[in-house]
């Protein structure tokens, strides 16, 4: 069976049976989205790294007990969300989602300009748009931001977002709608 097309749940089962390569595939598949989710919700690279390690260690430990009928993505982000909440509780730090959130990285506008601005105008627009959306995201209530990031990073359905965030479908849908409206309004202001 080709690991590239294996569903996550099959990879977890294979890893639980001792197939380490299945875990590597799983990790590669979810590494960046999960990393961004943690970074967006922690705001600090060091904290995100700690949580990233905790979440994946939990996956390695609990994989044999993962229910075959469950959704791996929902489980993974539930683990991540719980650790983010725990970290906020212990550090009494709420809402530290700065736009860039990195300690040692250059400002977002500069990096956007460096990486993919073919022209100074486009680079400027992208940088402004990116900075704007991340700034707006940081201003959103944490529940709305969380719902939006989950959907944008993982492509989760509303039902899965509701599952991960421990709420019902309608509430998750409302949070997504409010988040989008706020972000769209900001984007409109920055669209040339």
């Amino acid at each position: 069976m080709d690991a590239a097309v294996d569903p996550d749940e099959a990879l977890v089962a294979r890893y639980a049976a001792g197939d380490v390569a299945a875990f590597e595939t799983l990790y590669s598949r979810h590494e960046l989205p999960l990393w961004r989710y943690l970074l967006r919700n922690c705001g600090e690279r060091g904290t995100a790294e700690e949580l990233m390690q905790e979440v994946w260690f939990t996956v390695t430990r609990e994989a044999p007990r993962f229910r075959a009928d469950g959704r791996f993505t929902a489980w993974l982000y539930t683990l991540a969300r719980n650790r983010v909440i725990d970290r906020h509780r212990t550090r009494r730090r709420h809402e530290s989602l700065d736009a860039t959130g990195t300690d040692d990285a250059p400002p977002l506008a500069e990096r956007l300009a460096d990486e993919r601005a073919p022209t100074p105008l486009e680079a400027s627009v992208r940088a402004e748009t990116g900075a704007a959306i991340l700034s707006a995201l940081a201003l959103l209530p944490v529940e709305q931001r969380e719902a939006f990031v989950l959907q944008a990073e993982t492509g989760m359905s509303v039902a899965d977002i509701a599952d991960v965030t421990g709420t019902n479908f309608e509430t998750a849908k409302s949070r997504l709608r409010y988040a989008r409206e706020r972000l769209k309004a900001l984007l409109r202001d920055h669209t040339p």
Binding site: Y15, A16, A17, G18, D19, V20, F23, E24, Y27, E31, L32, W35, R36, L39, R40, A48, E49, M52, Q53, W56, F57, V59, T60, R61, A63, P64, T100, G101, T102, A105, L108, R111, L112, E115, R116, R126, T129, G130, A131, I133, L134, L137, F148, Q151, A152, E153, V158, L176, R180, L183, K184, L187
Partner: protein
Amino acid sequence: MSTGQEDELQRAYRDASSDAGAPPPALRKTILAEAAAAAKRREPANDARYWLSAAAGIAVLGIGLVLWRQVPHQVPGDVPLMAEVSASSTVQPAPVAQSVPASPPAVTAEPVAEMARERRSADVAEPAAKAEREELSVTAATDQAAPPPPPTASAFEEITVTGSRATQAQRSGPIAAAPMQDAAGIARNTSSPQLLRQYFPQAYAGSAPRTLWLVQDAAGNTLRSGELGAGQDFTTINPNIEAQFSGQRLGPWVVEEVRSARGQPIKLGIARLQYNPGQ
């Protein structure tokens, strides 16, 4: 939620969010190493040899448990041996009725040690009886392989305990050399008057009518002895006795009237414990 504007929104977010980069390679290496280690730690559970050794271990534990249960164990609160009882020289009142609220009859008991001392003094006055007992002691000496009594309970320690366990304790004590000490052997080979002298020397030497009882196991070892109070019937103590020997019930009482040394009538009831298949 898949309009063009929403796609544009998500695309804009992803563009902006790509600045987050990736976690450091060292973190990735750490996580993958832990994943491999965790998988290795779980390997024994998937190994047939592990299950075989686990099953063998459980089997050994089971056999050990069975063997342990085969060996009698005395636990705190178990009935005292005769040697322990002999330390007390007072006749204790029968607290059976206090221990069991279901109005059991009062049972008086006589410590065996005291009985033995009194019996030795009675021996001096009764050469004929002494000769008879000496003869019986020979029988007892050849009967040391008597089976142990059934397990006993501890709720009524005041009741005199006799039998092979008590006999073994006596053998190690100073009285062991004296004749007539193998109570189990005597019990299996003696008549009612002999039992009376053996277990109720005071009553035998007394001048008052008594109603006494003995409980024996199937082999004839005397396990309990006592005296009924006025107006009590032998069967009234059955529940107390059976409660001390779980899994067994008391057989019918065989009552015999015996004369004491002073010619007084003494009722001696003897009942034997029987295995109760209903329990």
